[in-house]
């Protein structure tokens, strides 16, 4: 594949040695040559005080890169826990840490002003509060940061979702990120940020190029400073499948070649997108985000359905339904009905089809699938009604034959063999070479004691499927009733040869031998 420019680099800081920090900075500096013209650097630290000196060191590399490359833009996101304390203490944090951080960007702010442009270097704090964080003080801190153009965002997880109820806090956050977990663990934050990006990008693909889901997600690297490992994507990070170790002194050109090679080695990016979307859908997200997820879940449901994985399809549709606005739910109900039908959950299928009726009742296939649910439940009367309704709506040729066969089979089930023959003969007329038609006709004629006709049809059935043991057994029954015991025995023997476990053939053959020696 083509060489990919990195959109995002994530660095998870730890208490690394000074030497390791220098190596990290050197690698980052070299990696900047491979980032997109507008890119993002996420630096994740345990807390503000411990992380800031390292961030300032990394920032030197950033400013140096941007000074050299006037066409490049970099957003630096510093992710850390919320400082604890009251408003005065928060203010101290701002004065002591953020103000100093901001100072280095002044040359870029001036450059932007002179060129009437947005600054090429943006510092964006991303604060992950804990359940003990004082919400009012945090809101004050966000307000102060915002007024200094350090546009702050929040990261909320299960332990802190309740903070989203505070409108004052949310109003001051530039953006709110959501993630699973409940202790703002650094690797969980990185995964969530990656995943959120994957979701947005997948959503854009769905609008523009839905067939391109197998392509890799936006290019990103994750570096864990504690051990120097580099991961090519969130999925590899979760599975601990690293590309290289920066402390083993690799050359960045080699690292990037390995990176590009990774996506040529059969990564299942579509499955990863699907997993990410499904996992995110369990979070208590705001309304705008859930709509996007609902569309994605529906899309992945259809992909699972096409791949005949109806269990997963049903799971995706169920989740999609939970997040979908009511006015867009009907197609999801219909698809869910299909998945239930294909997984043997006929009552649930009928319930889902019922909710899709208003939109689909003019479609013959709607009645056909509803009929199938009843048929599989053994309710041939209801099934017959639905199939007849489908038949009246001018179905496509292939489906017409299927509907006629099911109609014939329903009539057989209800004991109306004459009517079964009418439907099945029509099916034969429409498409002669379908085994099921002859099999069902054989049954109908047998029941009406027209053994010659039954044998005639069953012979065609075994011509079409020479391995059908049950049709040979049926032939045996018809020959027996006609009095041709040798042929009957031969047919039962043939059936048993194909399927030694076919009890009906074995029992009839034994009875025949007992009776006639």
């Amino acid at each position: 594949m083509d060489e990919r420019a990195l959109q995002r680099i994530f660095v998870i800081l730890d208490k690394q040695e000074k030497e390791q920090l220098e190596t990290l900075c050197r690698i980052l500096s070299d990696l900047f040559f491979y980032v997109e013209l507008t890119s993002n650097l996420y630096i994740v630290a345990e807390d503000l005080a411990a992380g800031m000196p390292q961030v300032e060191r990394i920032q030197k590399q950033v400013t140096s890169f941007l000074r050299e490359n006037l066409f490049a833009r970099l957003y630096v996101h510093f992710i850390h826990g919320a400082p604890q304390g009251n408003t005065e203490q928060m203010d101290f944090y701002f004065q002591y840490y953020y103000q100093n951080w901001k100072r280095v960007t002044m040359e870029f702010d001036r450059e932007a002003y002179m060129h009437q442009e947005v600054p090429r270097l943006m510092l964006l704090p991303l604060i992950a509060p804990s359940s003990h964080t004082n919400t009012a003080s945090l809101a004050d801190l966000l307000g102060t940061l915002k007024s200094a153009f350090l546009l702050p965002s929040l990261y909320l997880d299960w332990g802190t979702f309740h903070q989203a109820a505070n409108e004052k806090l949310l109003a001051k956050a530039e953006k709110v990120y959501y993630g699973p977990g409940n202790n703002s663990e650094k690797s969980a934050i990185v995964c969530s940020l990656c995943h959120e990006n994957i979701i947005h990008e997948t959503s854009s693909r769905l609008d523009a190029h839905p067939a391109s889901m197998t392509e890799p997600c936006p290019a990103a690297l994750i570096i864990t400073a504690s051990d120097g490992m580099v991961y090519p994507c969130a999925d590899a990070f979760v599975r601990k499948k690293s590309l290289a170790n920066i402390y083993a002194a690799p050359h960045v050109d080699t690292l990037m070649a390995q990176y590009n090679g990774y996506f040529d080695s059969g990564t299942d990016c579509q499955a990863c997108r699907d997993r990410v979307v499904a996992a995110f859908s369990d979070l208590p997200l705001p309304k705008g985000a859930t709509h996007e997820l609902s569309d994605l879940l529906y899309h992945f449901g259809t992909l699972h359905q096409e791949a005949q994985n109806h269990v997963l399809a049903a799971e995706r549709y169920e989740k999609s339904l939970k997040l979908s606005p009511a006015e867009e739910a009907v197609p999801i109900h219909f698809r869910l009905g299909l998945s239930y039908l294909n997984t043997g959950r006929y009552d649930q299928g009928l319930e889902s089809f019922g909710k899709a009726k208003a939109m689909y009742q003019d479609q013959y296939y709607f009645h056909f699938y509803t009929g199938l649910c009843y048929f599989e439940k053994g309710d041939y009367g209801m099934a017959l009604e639905r199939f007849l309704e489908a038949l009246d709506m001018d179905p496509q040729q292939d489906d017409l034959v299927r509907i006629l066969i099911y109609l014939g089979t329903c009539c057989n089930g209800l004991g109306d063999y004459e009517q079964a023959i009418v439907q099945l003969e029509r099916a034969k007329h429409e498409a002669g070479q379908v085994k099921e038609i002859y099999n069902a006709l054989g049954f109908s004629y047998f029941q009406l004691k027209d053994y010659d006709k039954a044998i005639e049809n069953l012979k065609v059935a075994v011509e079409l499927d020479p391995y059908s043991a049950i049709d040979y057994a049926s032939l045996g029954a018809n020959y027996r009733e006609r009095g041709d015991m040798d042929m009957a025995a031969a047919m039962y023997e043939r059936a048993l040869k194909l399927d030694p476990d076919l009890a009906v053939a074995r029992e009839n053959l034994e009875r025949l031998r007992d009776y006639h020696g």
Partner: protein, 427 residues
């Protein structure tokens, strides 16, 4: 010899750079190898990728489209390209270049030429000079720097008045159709009017030049065959000639192109019959320039268009179920805060959705416009006196009637009423 043409705007999605497309097709027809590089917000290229492109394509000349907002990036890329190969010549053209003052050009060390005339002929002239190894000899249509770094201007170069003489960028296949969602069309160039804030009439000396309708339809048919359905007509006034727009719309219907079109024109250049034809041909959206809805302001901008005419044009379009966009500005000469509010109220009263191009913006004062030349006469006070001379006043001004705070307030009010947080498509 190879020529690389670059358009960069990190804040806009990639769309076919039509002006560069024309230049590329023209140079290609004269035997040059040409590549267009569009660097938008969704362009996936790194400095390493750029370096690879430069070293593999080996252009002898690189041309940039330059706009006020992209100057910094153009400067940065020019420096980067020269750092790879200092022998590569770099030219800039487009709105920021045509009327850029010489002292501005003098402060651009990595730019060798500034195009002042028709892009196609000018860049051909430069390309031929570079190819012959005498990059600063026999030039026309450009400014360049001599050995002492002194800016030298050359004679103007006339472009073709019959636009069909330029090869079509679409029919020459200079664009990549694989991810093209929308084709940008330019069926005419120039504008005869005298609006004081606008670059176009000055750049084209108040003349209008046209493509034949046959050529436009041939292009559209080709683009449709390539699978692109949406067309965005960049002509300043597509209905400048009534017979011509009718011929175009009839042709589109006759060819059954099933196109979806966006176009713009003056509100006094439409009527009901034309709107019906537009609707039939597939026009989804029409944009009119209102600028201001205050009777105190409109006479000062020399647009010579009554507000009532705009109301009528909106009604006509809406009667045909064509979406309307209105271009408006604030911070205009003589405009007070209350005047600016009238414009916002006008847009809402006339049921025009405040989104996309209808998001208002502060008037920008660009090089070459009457406003830039005579800003003092319009009671404009530039705020940044230290700006580099290759950057025009732009939006860094206040007026006798509106302070920076007032302008900021108007901007925030528009944003508050916007359906898409104020994201404008055309600047």
């Amino acid at each position: 010899m190879n020529v690389l043409l670059i358009e960069i705007n990190p804040f806009a999605p990639v769309s076919p750079p039509i002006s560069l497309g024309y230049i590329a097709a023209f140079l290609k027809s004269k035997g040059f190898g040409v590549k267009i590089l569009t660097l938008g917000e969704d362009a996936s290229i790194s400095p390493a990728g750029l370096q690879k492109l430069i070293t593999s394509f080996r252009p002898a000349l690189v041309g940039f489209s330059a706009y006020q907002r992209t100057m910094l990036y153009v400067i940065g890329l020019a420096r980067f390209i020269k750092s790879i190969d200092s022998g590569i010549k770099v030219a800039i053209g487009g709105p920021q270049a045509t009327f850029m003052p010489s002292d501005g050009f003098a402060q651009l060390p990595d730019i060798d030429y500034v195009s002042r005339s028709a892009g196609e002929q000018t860049l051909l002239c430069v390309a031929r000079a570079v190819e012959q190894g005498r990059p600063f000899s026999g030039l026309s249509g450009v400014s360049y720097k001599n050995d002492g770094g002194i800016v030298q201007d050359t004679e103007e170069l006339e472009g073709f008045s019959d636009l069909d003489q330029y090869p079509s960028p679409y029919l020459s296949d200079v664009f990549d159709y694989s991810r093209m969602g929308e084709a940008i069309m330019l069926t005419s160039r120039g504008c005869p009017h005298h609006c004081i804030y606008c670059y176009t009439p000055c750049a084209f000396k108040h003349k209008v030049m046209f493509h034949s309708i046959d050529r436009v339809l041939e292009e559209m048919t080709w683009i449709r065959k390539k699978g692109v359905k949406r067309f965005w007509f960049a002509d300043p006034n597509i209905s400048h000639k009534r017979s011509r727009i009718e011929e175009l719309l009839d042709g589109i219907v006759k060819l059954d192109l099933e196109a979806q079109m966006w176009l713009q024109t003056r509100a006094d250049l439409v009527d009901l019959e034309m709107m019906k034809k537009m609707k039939r041909a597939g026009v989804r959206t029409i944009a009119f320039g209102l600028e201001s809805a205050s009777e105190r302001v409109t006479p000062k901008i020399d647009k010579h268009l009554s507000i009532q005419k705009v109301v009528e044009a909106i009604r006509l379009a809406q009667s045909q179920d064509i979406e309307v966009e209105l271009f408006t500005m604030f911070g205009l000469p003589n405009e007070t805060f209350e005047d600016a509010m009238k414009t916002l109220a006008f847009v809402k009263e006339n049921n025009v959705k405040i989104m996309g191009n209808t998001n208002s913006q502060q008037m920008q004062i660009y090089f070459g416009t009457p406003m830039a030349r005579h800003y003092k006469d319009y009671h404009i006070r530039p705020l940044n006196t230290e700006r580099p001379p290759y950057i025009s006043i732009g939006c860094q001004y206040e007026t006798d009637h509106m302070s920076t705070e007032d302008i900021g307030k108007v901007q925030n009010l528009w944003r508050a009423h916007s359906l898409d947080r104020g994201r404008r498509i055309v600047s």
